[in-house]
């Protein structure tokens, strides 16, 4: 434990600059898959926690989608009570080591922080990560006590943040919980999508191990809708309620000429090969990835998926790694930190460009992309300024590998085999906002498969909401 630091007067507190995150050197890290951010040490965490103004009405908590009690957590950190801080955090957020790393804090807790108006916001994400890592690294994650067994069985479909958080909460209530996952590993996007250098897989595995220790049964290699249907889960396997959390995993393509060429990937495939199948470690793992070393790799898109892909390409040895984005940096949906890290590592941003066609060489492999320059017009429905092509500005850029990262849609496997469950026109499952009930008795749904591709913390929040209403349903039997 550290020495307790007295609380400084507010004026003094605002004089402390926002602490920076120690990180691996940009030149070095651009060639390895180890985590970029190294984490705060205790002294930096202390200094940062001093900056909190301890507002009577903490705006940060309103900014957090799950209402983490940030002020209380920061107070405990300042007092050196790190494990109590972790426990406080876990009251609202079951995956703090993950969200501390991947939440878009600038639009959430940190964006709402009053310090942000005149100074820099409190580094809430860094503190959250510090607390969660402290708890994890000291091996003192307190497993909460389980309620006595209720004899009820629930099935969770999908093991991303929505499924995991729902499973955890229902297990605590004493229900028998089975998680079904189509892939061979548990974690959803946390395992197959977000790369090691941003979220070490060991963190996800530890969380899953904790859940195993709580008695949750994880069954990999089960595709609901194919191996077993939702109706069979009830009728043949005896489950009393089901939560569907299958994510938004269907890749979208642009449907432009040349997209069929070898060398053109969806971001899902590129990242799955890199993260889940570990294609970057070719001495140890069998799954191949198209050669990126000393070649030109272009990623189409401006979200987190695009940033993860382009930074993976750099680490696979790309000579030039480009982001091709049709709007300007201001509209980029990616986390600010990712854009900043990508730039430091040498990613080249071609904003206000849009691909028209992929071009192949004589061997039939990708060799270039035809681009057109864009300019921003009036704001569209999304409130962002609409990109308009500049006539006559087309040109061809030589590339060897392209990754299409323009978004994902709903995978229809569960919906198509559960015809009596309502979906919307894009194929997402319709669930009640408050209870996350679908129109089918006993079936709940949440996370990206209801909201469309969103964030880890929203998916986690949905999992917890679903757990509450599933518990009520299991207790009362009332629908």
């Amino acid at each position: 434990m550290t020495t307790m630091v007295d609380k400084l007067p507010p004026k003094e507190r605002t004089k402390i600059p926002r602490q920076t995150m120690p990180e691996q050197d940009a030149c070095e890290r651009a060639h390895n898959f180890r985590e970029v951010n190294l984490g705060l040490d205790e002294a930096i965490a202390q200094r940062e926690s001093q900056r909190c103004l301890t507002c009577a009405d903490p705006k940060c908590t309103h900014g957090c989608p799950v209402g983490v009690q940030i002020r209380e957590v920061v107070d405990l950190v300042r007092e050196g009570e790190y494990l109590s801080a972790a426990a406080k955090l876990r009251e609202d957020n079951v995956l703090p080591a993950v969200t501390g790393r991947v939440c878009p804090q600038e639009n959430q807790c940190e964006g709402a922080c009053v310090l942000a108006r005149r100074f820099n916001s409190l580094a809430i994400g860094y503190i959250e990560r510090f607390v969660a890592d402290y708890e994890r690294e000291t091996g003192q994650v307190g497993l909460p006590e389980r309620a006595p067994a209720t004899g009820k069985k629930v099935a969770i479909v999908g093991s991303g943040p929505a499924g995991l958080s729902c499973a955890g909460d229902l297990a605590l209530k004493g229900h028998g919980v089975t998680v079904f996952e189509a892939l061979h590993e548990i974690g959803g996007v946390l395992i197959y999508g977000i790369p090691e250098f941003r979220l070490p897989k060991e963190i996800v595995r530890q969380e899953v191990d904790n859940m195993r220790a709580m008695g949750i049964d994880f069954q990999t290699n089960v595709v609901i809708g194919k191996t077993v249907t939702i109706d069979e889960l009830f009728e043949e396997e005896g489950y009393d309620a089901v939560f569907i959390a299958t994510g938004a995993g269907l890749p979208k393509f642009m449907n432009i000429p040349g997209e069929e060429l070898p060398g053109v990937y969806s971001a899902n495939e590129f990242l799955t090969r890199v993260n889940l199948m570990k294609a970057y470690d070719r001495d140890q793992y069998d799954s191949p990835i198209y050669e990126c070393r000393d070649r030109n790799v272009a990623i189409i898109g401006g979200g987190n998926t695009a940033m993860d892909s382009v930074r993976s390409a750099l680490r696979l040895g790309a000579k030039n790694a480009y982001i091709i984005y049709r709007r300007s940096e201001e509209e980029m949906p990616a986390r600010g930190e990712e854009v900043h890290h990508a730039k430091d590592e040498g990613v080249q941003f071609m904003n206000l460009h849009n691909p028209l066609e992929f071009i192949g060489n004589e061997e039939g492999n990708l060799s270039g992309v035809k681009l057109i320059k864009m300019e921003l017009g009036e704001a569209d429905e999304s409130g962002r300024r609409k990109p308009i092509p500049i006539e006559g500005s087309e040109f061809v850029m030589p590339i060897d590998v392209a990754v299409v990262a323009i978004g994902t849609g709903a995978n229809p496997l569960v919906q198509s085999t559960t015809p009596d469950m309502a979906t919307n026109k894009w194929g997402y499952i319709v669930a009640d906002d408050e209870t996350l009930r679908t129109n089918k008795r006993g079936v709940f749904a949440g996370g990206d498969i209801v909201s469309g591709a969103a964030t880890v913390i929203l998916a986690m929040g949905a999992g917890r909401t679903a757990a509450r209403s599933m518990h009520a349903f299991l207790e009362t039997g009332q629908w």
Binding site: D217, Q219, T220, G249, E259, E269, R273, D286, P288
Partner: protein, 299 residues
Amino acid sequence: MFPIKESRFLSEDVKLFRVQAPRIARKRQAGQFVIVRIHEHGERIPLTIADSDVDEGTITIIVQGIGKTTRLLNELEAGDAILDVVGPLGEASEVKDFGTVVVIGGGVGTAIAYPTAVAMKQAGNHVITIVGARNSSLLILEDEVRATSDELYLMTDDGSYGEQGFVTQKLQSLIDQGRTIDHVLAIGPIPMMQAVAEVTRPHQIPTIVSLNPIMVDGTGMCGGCRVYVGGQCKFACVDGPEFDAHQVDFANLVQRNRMYRQREQESLEQFEQDPTHDLEEAHHCQMEQRFPEAGPRTV
């Protein structure tokens, strides 16, 4: 963990496995496949389900050892286990009473076509089967196929068994004889499927082929298996694997299947030089299965 109940070679490098996978056995229909991964460092590969036994809870897969993963798989035997088996994936074959159906199997494609031939027979069709192989030692499932066919023609490239010639020559001669053919299913190497499509096209005989693009997840999540059919992008893992042969862009399929050729070659060479590491790992998996306390795994 998916225990292997039985294994035997059908020809020099083609091996049949019966694998314990009760949930898959219960659901599987002709034309569907599984994705398997042998050990923790392995890749995921698709394999067609050749048969299943619901009471026993087993599925049958037939594997031709051509790359590293399939060679390694063919080293496993009854008593061993496969780390991951997921399925049944893909859409089932369209089976109904068409009238006269010609089922064509080339090489290990015979194993893939066989379950659909059985289903076609059960649906009341007159089933003509044409099986092709380079030579007699590569012919597989002759007895099984004979039992389910009204007519069977065996073709070898070198004439070492059955008739000498290609499957397409036999198909052409049936057409030339004026036989009515209502439906053709062709499964085998891409050039064979493409050639069959060209034989039936002028006669407008509906022809189905089963495509084998490279896959990762098999659930529509990666899009690596996209094939182009009638100018449209389809995912073979969820929309297929069977498609209208007259609409398929075979040239693109050949191209896309070559994406990792060099790397595949290297892996195979390394494996052939020294398979001990992979074998140990594949066997380590069984240790876990025999002694479950050694590591948590789900069946």
